[in-house]
């Protein structure tokens, strides 16, 4: 049985700017790193493995060849095998096309017991890819998982942390779990593992390795949503100074809080 983690390489900072004159994104000094939320997913996979001695752990990412760096990090944390799925046919994938591509890769990998995703990414922030993968694979999923109290041979019991309630639910395998930040403290990549895994190859997959090889189902063509344009947000850094008597100031603040809908 395989425990598979979906990870993503994200920009190392959220401070991405647009050059106002040319409209081009500025990426000076923007390094890439593993999506921080995915570290919790990796840690969860490594701990789950202890419950199923025969299980192996795998990390999958879809992205450009540069994403290998994040996969190496996963190896250093203790993941057994890392897989990069990369093809020009995937360029311009939206949520649906990304989820479809990953679900196809997961089918190609085969024998999956549990798929683990991080809560969200720091660049797209959508938290939608996981549930869509589950739908494509026709397996159950649960999100907002804060603990995994029990693992059985063919099911897993998880604690779901919703804003108002806490539920304990049991899912049959295979299933997909999105884990919360804080489920476990992620271990640091170890130097020993780094040396050990230096020669471990990154398994690479392309469109040709997938069950569905029709390029129209991937990338821009396979994406229902299109980006019409990207633009810098309007900055409301208008700074204002209010002066007056305490009563006047309290009045202005009251009016602001009411009009901006902050009054609960």
């Amino acid at each position: 049985m395989r425990i598979l983690v979906c990870i993503k390489q994200v920009p190392g900072t959220t401070q991405v700017d647009i050059d106002e004159k040319t409209g081009v994104l500025k990426r000076d000094g923007v390094e890439s790193k593993i999506n921080p939320y995915d570290l919790y997913a990796i840690e969860t996979a490594l701990r789950l493995k202890e419950h199923w001695p025969e299980a192996t752990t795998h990390a999958l990412t879809m992205g450009p060849p540069q994403a290998e760096q994040s996969l190496r990090e996963a190896l250093m944390m203790g993941i057994d095998e890392v897989i990069l799925i990369s093809d020009r046919a995937f360029a311009g994938s939206d949520v649906l096309a990304t989820a479809y591509t990953l679900s196809q890769a997961i089918q190609a990998i085969g024998d999956i017991g549990i798929i683990i995703c991080g809560q969200q990414t720091t660049d797209g922030d959508t938290a939608q890819v996981g549930p869509e993968i589950a739908e494509f694979l026709n397996i159950p999923h649960a999100t907002h998982i804060s603990a995994i109290p029990e693992c059985q041979a063919c099911s897993v019991t998880v604690q779901v942390d919703l804003p108002a309630t806490e539920e304990i639910i049991r899912l049959p395998l295979p299933c997909l779990l999105s884990v919360n930040k804080g489920i476990h403290t992620p271990r640091l990549p170890s130097f020993k593992r780094k040396k050990e895994t230096r020669d471990v190859p990154v398994r690479s997959m392309t469109l040709a390795d997938l069950p569905d090889t029709n390029p129209d189902h991937y990338g821009l063509n396979g994406s229902p949503t299109n980006v019409v344009r990207i633009f810098p947000p309007e900055h409301h850094v208008t700074r204002e100074t209010w002066e007056g008597s305490s009563g006047e100031l309290a009045d202005r603040l009251y009016t602001y809080l009411r009009d901006a809908k902050f009054l609960a």
Partner: protein, 398 residues
């Protein structure tokens, strides 16, 4: 497939085009410009590169018959018989959007004992409310709720579906969107309707530093999720309207492989990082008693009280409420600093707040350099005055 092809002869300076791509997808190999798999199809190279150098070639795209899909539908998010306010905000937005194209507004309500809620929903301008009421829908479970949602969409054929960006919405909307193999745009901050029923969706990308304008031009329905408090709640109308249709879900829809072993309400433990609104105590509040006043204000704003390091060290607040480099980093929608001077270490923990209102008696306080609104005055007078007004205003919000 769609691809960007490069016309080498139209590129005067090879090295400069590499800079064009924000994703590092333009590479030079053997003196030829190529586009790698890092390409996100943002088309910036086409728009901003040398004229005619980059070209997008697409295979012909098939569009659904948009006339077969009409109206704007809203998923009503309810837990334990309470409607999440984001759902009403979306109903208000749906009425605006549908009004622009003269189409109906639908709502989907699923749960158990839903009659009273359905009746209440009739006061918000929805044309047609579909209620799926069944004991097995009492708790949210992904498979039955997805099946019910699917049934609802097949019945109404809405062009647009709006779902609140709640814990349930963020799990359910992608599942349903994937079932219909259609587009989903998450966490939209702006929505508008084109005459051809294409939904204009704008959302922040890259952690909010860039906005993306997104459409779903060839698929229906088009899904969008929106977080709480992005849009305004509509006025409740005195007279009920619209039609309520009760649907008994069949057994097939209710099948679930997931077993709920227990479910309990939890004690709300909230950290200051989770608060949308923070009222922050600095040394300028002078007395420990004044913390209580700030707490009253925070309660009225649905927020929490935080403090600066000196306030924490004085023991006026518990350590987990400290904001700053040695405390917590917060990014609320609104932060009101009360008698906070604005040390570098404090500012580093809160400068990402969307709106910063600073109250300080010293016009030269460094907090005013980063505040959006600088209130020069005595916080010990202003807060009691404000609380008075709030008490008089009652439920003044509309």
């Amino acid at each position: 497939m769609a691809a960007i092809i490069v016309h080498q002869e139209k590129i005067p300076d090879l090295s400069r085009v590499v800079e064009l791509c924000p994703f590092g997808a333009i590479e030079i190999n053997d003196n030829r410009v190529t586009v790698s798999s890092a390409c996100r199809m943002c088309k910036i190279c086409i728009k901003k590169g040398p004229v005619g150098a980059f070209e997008l070639v697409e295979s012909p795209q098939v569009s659904v018959d948009k006339n077969a899909w009409r109206g704007v539908a809203v998923y009503i998010d309810q837990t334990e018989g309470k409607i999440h306010p984001v759902s009403l905000e979306l109903v208000g937005k749906a009425c605006d959007l549908a009004g622009k194209i003269g189409q109906p507004v639908f709502a989907l309500l699923a749960g158990h004992h839903m009659t009273a809620l359905a009746e209440e929903l009739r006061h918000y301008g929805i044309d047609s409310i579909f209620v799926y009421d069944h004991p097995q829908l009492e708790h949210f479970r992904i498979e039955p709720y997805t099946a019910v949602f699917e049934n609802f969409i097949n019945r109404c054929k809405p062009s647009t579906v709006l779902v609140g960006g709640t814990a349930i919405g963020r799990s359910l909307a992608p599942r349903v969107a994937a079932r219909f193999r259609t587009g989903l745009t998450a966490d939209c901050t702006f929505l508008d309707m084109q005459p051809n029923t294409d939904l204009d969706q704008i959302r922040p990308a890259f952690g909010g530093n860039i906005m993306a304008h997104i459409r779903t031009p060839r698929h229906r329905p088009q899904f969008a999720t929106v977080r709480y408090k992005i849009f305004s709640a509509p006025q409740r109308r005195a007279e009920p309207g619209g039609v309520v249709t009760a649907i008994t879900p069949d057994e097939k829809m209710l099948v679930s492989s997931i077993e709920t072993l227990s479910s309990h309400r939890k004690e709300p433990v909230k950290n200051i990082e989770d608060a949308d609104v923070l009222v922050v105590a600095g040394q300028g509040i002078q007395r420990r008693d004044n913390i209580e006043l700030l707490q009253q204000l925070a309660d009225r704003l649905g927020g929490m009280v935080g403090g600066t390091r000196p306030v924490i060290e004085a023991g006026w607040l518990e350590p987990r409420r400290q904001i700053g480099l040695s405390g917590r980093t917060v990014k609320p929608k609104l932060i009101i600093t009360c008698g906070v001077s604005g040390s570098v270490q404090f500012v580093a923990g809160m400068s990402g707040a969307e709106k910063i209102i600073a109250i300080n008696i010293d016009p030269d306080a460094s907090i005013f350099k980063i505040a959006h609104t600088a209130m020069i005055g005595d916080v010990c007078e202003i807060i009691p005055e404000l609380l008075n007004k709030l008490a008089k205003g009652g439920n003044a919000h509309v």
